[in-house]
């Protein structure tokens, strides 16, 4: 719990770095300091000769400084994004170690006979996940996307997974089906897939729960 809180706090800090308000403030401060420095450098050439093209030099210097500042900010942002990604992966590895990890995925094959609305998961009679799919997410599934609906920890041994699918069947009728799988959790991560596919012969959707090898 403490580790989770620490990691969540670090991720919040990186998100603060990425917030537009913070970035704008940082850019403004850097520009002001750079323009202050370049104004100090520009005054001696301006005083030397009024007819010579001295006014062009400070502008070029300032624009060069601004470009390098912009590049610095962009590289900082890239580093922050990388750090955020690393923290996220670390958080997952700490909270869900491989020897107890279980992940459940949902996929949709074709989807002419069933438009998924929600999926509810129960493992050993405990509800562990309940996900509502928006239209955009359902379309992404139809296009071949795979959604990780649950990530958790399970002890070694026999377990039962029950999945309930709610949605619209053919002719816009409400449809609710369940699928069950009894599986053995060994040492190592376990990956299960809930696949919704069309059974063309019966003109009905088919709900399969399968284990990834």
């Amino acid at each position: 719990m403490r580790v989770r809180n620490v990691l969540a706090g670090l991720r919040r800090c990186t998100q603060l770095w990425l917030s537009p308000l913070w970035r704008a403030t940082l850019v403004t401060l850097l520009v002001l300091s750079a323009s202050g420095a370049s104004a100090g450098e520009a005054t001696p050439p301006a005083n030397a000769a009024a007819a010579t093209p001295a006014p062009a030099a400070p502008e070029t210097g300032a624009s060069r400084d601004f470009k390098s500042l912009d590049q610095d900010v962009q590289s900082l942002k890239t580093e922050v994004v990388e750090l955020n990604k690393d923290l996220f992966v670390l958080e997952e590895e700490l909270l869900f170690p491989a020897n107890t990890q279980i992940a459940v995925f949902v996929s949709l094959d074709v989807g002419d006979f069933f438009a998924v609305d929600s999926v509810t998961l129960k493992i050993d009679d405990n509800e562990v996940a309940n996900y509502l799919y928006t239209q955009r997410e359902a379309e992404a599934l139809m296009r071949g996307g795979v959604h990780r609906v649950y990530l958790g920890n399970l002890k070694v041994g026999k377990h039962e997974l029950v999945a309930f699918f709610t949605g619209k069947g053919t002719h816009e009728r409400d449809y609710k089906r369940g699928a069950t799988l009894t599986f053995e959790k060994g040492i190592g991560a376990k990956y299960l897939e809930l696949k919704i596919s069309d059974r063309v012969r019966k003109l009905q959707p088919e709900f399969i729960v399968k284990e990834w090898e």
Binding site: Q15, S19, P20, L132, T134, Q135
Partner: protein, 185 residues
């Protein structure tokens, strides 16, 4: 005897008055702290990323807040028993109609326990913006819902910018000013 009785009576009256005063003071302190606490919590909310959620709409579709990223969103928490909510919603509908094309969305979040009542009220009010149902109150705690109605303005980056829970009929100008500012960003 009379004096003793009056003395006893006066003794009995003083503690009651004192007790009433103490109770009134305690109630005032409690109310003040709860209001301050709620105000402080809502002040924390402004400037933070809007907590994402997905709820079922009255039309049947599921609506997720993060899918509106890029638009200015107003979340309006309401209930069928809330009179101020019923006054506010037509005004919000007008705002929605005016600024919809500029990228403004209003999401009405109903927190009634009775979904049927919520649906009846929504049909009676006949607003054009999307309404979602939160009978389990899964979203309300994320936004530290206190009194109703409560409106939360979220900018195009998904950051909570303004929180209002003091709607008064005829005083929509602050809403409009804040909304225009966010739309112009």
């Amino acid at each position: 005897m009379v004096r003793m009785d009056s003395f006893r009576i006066s003794l009995g009256a003083r503690p009651t008055r004192t007790l009433r005063t103490c109770l009134r003071t305690a109630a005032a302190i409690f109310l003040a702290s709860s209001v301050l606490g709620t105000t402080a919590a809502r002040a924390d909310l402004a400037g933070s990323t809007a907590p994402d959620f997905v709820l079922k709409s009255l039309a049947g579709a599921n609506l997720r807040l993060s899918e509106y990223l890029g638009e200015v969103v107003m979340l309006n928490f309401w209930a069928s028993w809330c009179g101020s909510c019923r006054q506010e919603m037509p005004q919000l509908d007008r705002l929605y109609a005016t600024y919809r094309s500029a990228g403004f969305v209003v999401l009405g979040i109903n927190v009634d326990d009775d979904v049927a009542r919520a649906m009846d009220m929504a049909r009676a009010l006949n607003v054009s913006y999307p309404m979602v149902l939160d009978p389990r109150k899964s979203v309300a705690p994320k936004y530290r819902l206190g009194e109703l109605p409560m409106s939360v303005l979220i900018d195009r980056s998904g950051i909570v910018r303004f929180v209002h829970s003091d709607y008064q009929a005829g005083k929509e100008q602050p809403y409009v000013a804040e909304l225009r500012r966010l739309l112009n960003e």
